[in-house]
Amino acid sequence: MMNEQESKLLDILAGRFNGQVTVFAGEETLVLPVDEIAPAAQAFHDEFGFDLLSSLTTVDYGPEVDPRFHMVYRFTSIAGHLSLNVRVPVPGLSPEVPTLENVYHNANWNERESFDLFGIKFSGHSDLRRILMPQDWEGHPLRKDYPLGYEEPQFTFNYDEIDVRKPYAYRRGGK
């Protein structure tokens, strides 16, 4: 889908919002600083016709990398037949990103998901609660320093050993 029109648009956007353009596998991505994403999204929506927020997610590069997180956005212009990838690097300590909820309504849940699974704070978000995990859950599961939570499977050779440790539920009153 990469074409000249899109490349030209990306150069314009990069110049205006102080960003850079990177290319991988035929996909161009606009890298923006974190304080530009809110005005940029407003402009994408109002001026450039990107009316659909296709995807919003986070990538964690591990605690030792700085900036640790990247927010990844994908905007789509249905009428203009264009798609736009945007990345926003976010530092690992107290990560905070402005919300896009007021421009794209569906950012609401997607941002809650990033908050829940990565612990990214979205300033100005109307309802920043956990969405997938229980409210009393501790930690953010998709961070790289969070363990997978693997349990040893029960096979014939270790059946008894695990059977002793494994908690089983009983009927009320026991049996």
């Binding site: 997938l132 995990m133 229980p134 859950w137 599961p141 969070y146 363990p147 997978l148 939570g149 693997y150 349990e151 499977p153 029960q154 494994k166 908690p167 089983y168 539920a169 009983y170 009927r171 009320r172 049996k175």
Partner: protein, 160 residues
Amino acid sequence: MGLEQKLGNMGVVTTRLEDLVNWSRTNAMWPMLFGLACCAIEMMSAQAANYDMSRFGMELMRASPRQSDLMIVAGRVSRKMAPVLRRLYDQMPDPKWVISMGDCASCGGVFNNYAVVQGVDEVVPVDVYVAGCPPRPEALIHGVITLHEKVRRERMKDWA
């Protein structure tokens, strides 16, 4: 068939109370409509025309735990769902049974991670495990019939 031959001309049949109760329990076992994930679709297939679970007196899926006596846990149980599942189980009137349908409900299946309970038997006591990912409708029906056999073997001294 069967009953008429036993009756003879007397209109009376004698049996043990245990057998009578077990017979009536197996022939009107109402499952709770408790689809969680993929297995729920196969459970629906088992209800629909091709497999037709009503042949075994199981056509009535009850939405309320108060009206059902069999819980078919069809699908993976997440940590968020586990307390809800236990509460629903507690709300079911005795006697009650549980079928763990599919690998995820039986042992966690392919999902060995932070979010999924590794076997629903950590939450509720399970009577029959049905293997498969997801099990075919026939497998579910087989599980149900196995449960019926189990119920027929129950003895009165264990009921209390």
